[in-house]
């Protein structure tokens, strides 16, 4: 059995669990970002658009914030699942241990998780884009490219956080990761305002945020500003994923086949 085939089988499992439990995850992945879009894009956006105009936002605020939320929701939907889901799989419920007792390898299990994060984020992005478009938040026909941003970001998030979680004995550090890592990233990666608004000293930090690169790709796409930078940002995400995947594979091997 080839590597690709067995990763696909791990993906099948993840997608089946998704199909059986989609109601819960759909809230985080789709309903929540739409609520944010209504509150920020339309409620707050009216105020922003009437403002003094010093902010370097070239489009309606709704159109500015929609791609930000699209990318950010991929991060938020995947982060919790990567941390607690992996702990459940290797420890609490232990279903990953059952998987590696079959011809599947730890790398297959990890690969299935990473790919399913991409597939689910892609599906959520399609739904979100449709709603945002109906509300007038998606002016460009390049918009479908934003789905790629969500998929890449979900893959990076799952690959990185699963690689971290699988090395932990328990979940005691996970709330900290969420509070000090994921939430600040969500707020300060150009999701709600351009990173140029941040103090000069802090701005370079945004470059380190995978979400910022994802937001840039998504925003270039939905506002029709696709250029070489779009490709660079997407490339950074792809490179990040390529860098963390070997760490994840090794982590899963050590944990599941000690």
């Amino acid at each position: 059995m080839g590597m690709t085939q067995s990763v696909w089988r791990a993906l099948e499992r993840e997608l089946l669990v998704f199909v059986r439990t989609w109601r819960g995850s759909a809230f985080t992945a789709i309903v929540q970002p739409v609520l944010f879009l209504l509150a920020m894009g339309i409620g707050l956006g009216d105020l922003v658009d009437q403002g003094a105009g010093t902010a370097r936002v070239q489009v309606d605020y709704l159109q500015f914030v929609a791609p930000g939320l699209l990318a950010a929701s991929a991060l938020l939907a995947v982060a919790g699942e990567a941390l607690w889901g992996v702990m459940g799989g290797v420890k609490w419920m232990g279903q990953f241990k059952g998987m590696v007792a079959t011809p599947m390898t730890p790398g297959d299990v990890y690969g299935g998780l990473v790919l399913s994060a991409g597939v689910r984020a892609g599906a959520a992005a399609v739904a979100f884009l449709a709603v945002a478009a109906l509300l007038g938040g998606v002016p460009s026909l390049w918009a479908p490219l934003a789905i790629v941003a969500a998929v890449l970001l979900a893959i990076v998030t799952m690959a990185g956080l699963a690689a971290y979680a699988v090395r932990k004995e328990d979940d005691s550090t996970f709330p900290l990761i969420m509070r000090l890592g994921v939430i600040p990233m969500f707020l300060f990666s150009g999701t709600f305002f351009p990173v140029e608004q941040l103090p000069d000293l802090v701005q370079p930090i945004a470059v380190l945020s995978p979400l910022w690169h994802g937001v840039e790709v998504a925003r270039d796409a939905t506002t029709g500003a696709v250029d070489a930078w779009t490709v660079v940002h997407a490339g950074v995400l792809a490179a990040l994923a390529a860098a963390v995947v070997p760490l994840g594979v090794r982590g899963f091997e050590r944990r599941l086949t000690p």
Partner: protein, 315 residues
């Protein structure tokens, strides 16, 4: 191995097999062979190295020394090929609790690359085998411990394995659930499936195993059939004496010893090993030993273990 000649058809063969985690030696150079169609047991207390051995056989934990072949293949290089032909029942159930009983069969079968048409047929049979037909569409979470255990065992058979590894299959189950499980395992044995079982229940080992090895502190201390081990290490009958208080037990020790071939002293009772329990009872009465209770029973693997590991007084 019992007669010293290696069996070329052995499904599992280990020579000097070891497993070390940093400074801790879990398995310390063990030799054994498991033959086609037998039920082979690893008997020993918790921490004896049984689970580590099972994990090496099931190719989810590389050995750190010695040789191991499983189904005539090398776990280091042929892990996926070996795992495709074995069934693994771990000590702790690792079912997909978010999925239904039925989905558990199908998803697990897909890991082996089996087509869905084949899986549906097998899952139906295995539902019956596990006596879970009426729970088919229920989620796994609310099932009882015994049901989950039966499902875990049935799921391990989805690939129609040549070899099934069961790690402490009945730990934590009530007697009724245990007997139902034993019945299912006998069924597998009748179908010619080779089984490897670890247990710390002496009665389970005696009931199920054709042959077993006794493990203690990472080593194999002896091997044979339950009958052979009992014959080799203990007398056929045991007289158990309980006394009103420890001082009485202490006082009776010397005289009681004369009434049997061998004596084991436990915290709460004396075990007198004898070939003739009647004679022992008589000898005790003649010598004026008056315990609170005097019980005669057949010798068991429990006695073998006691004799082999020598945790109590010297024989």
């Amino acid at each position: 191995m019992a007669d010293g000649t290696p069996d070329p058809d052995a499904l599992v063969r280990a020579r000097g097999l070891s497993k070390r985690f940093d400074d801790f030696v879990a398995v310390d150079g063990i030799d054994f062979e498991v033959r086609q169609g037998e039920v082979f047991g690893f008997l020993g207390p918790n921490g004896a190295g049984k689970t580590s051995t099972m994990r090496m056989i099931s190719c989810v934990s590389p050995s750190t020394g010695g040789e191991l072949s499983v189904l005539h293949l090398d776990p280091d290089t042929d892990g996926p090929a070996i795992r495709s032909r074995i069934g693994v029942v771990p000590q702790e159930d690792n079912l997909d609790t978010e999925l239904s009983v039925w989905d558990n069969f199908i998803v697990y079968g897909r890991y082996f690359g089996l087509p869905r048409t084949v899986l549906r047929e097998r899952a139906q049979e295995l539902l019956e085998f596990a006596r879970l037909t009426d729970r088919r569409d229920d989620r796994v979470d609310p099932l009882s411990g015994g049901m989950k255990r039966r499902l875990t065992i049935a799921r391990a058979l989805i690939n129609d394995p040549d070899l099934v590894l069961l790690d402490e299959p009945t730990t934590g189950l009530d007697p009724q659930a245990r007997h139902l499980l034993w019945d299912r395992l006998y069924g597998l044995k009748r179908r010619g499936v080779t089984l490897i079982i670890t247990t710390h229940y002496m009665d389970e080992a005696e009931q199920l195993c054709d042959r077993l090895v006794v493990m203690d502190q990472g080593r194999i201390v002896d091997e044979g059939s339950p009958r052979q081990l009992i014959d080799r290490h203990v007398t056929p009958e045991v007289v158990e004496l309980r006394f009103a208080d420890p001082a009485d037990q202490e006082a009776a020790l010397g005289t009681a010893g004369e009434a049997a071939e061998r004596i084991e002293v436990l915290a709460d009772r004396l075990l007198l090993y004898t070939r003739d329990a009647q004679a022992t009872h008589h000898a005790l009465a003649v010598r004026g030993v008056e315990p609170l209770t005097e019980l005669t029973r057949r010798a068991s693997l429990e006695d073998v273990f006691l004799a082999l590991t020598g945790r109590t007084l010297e024989e």
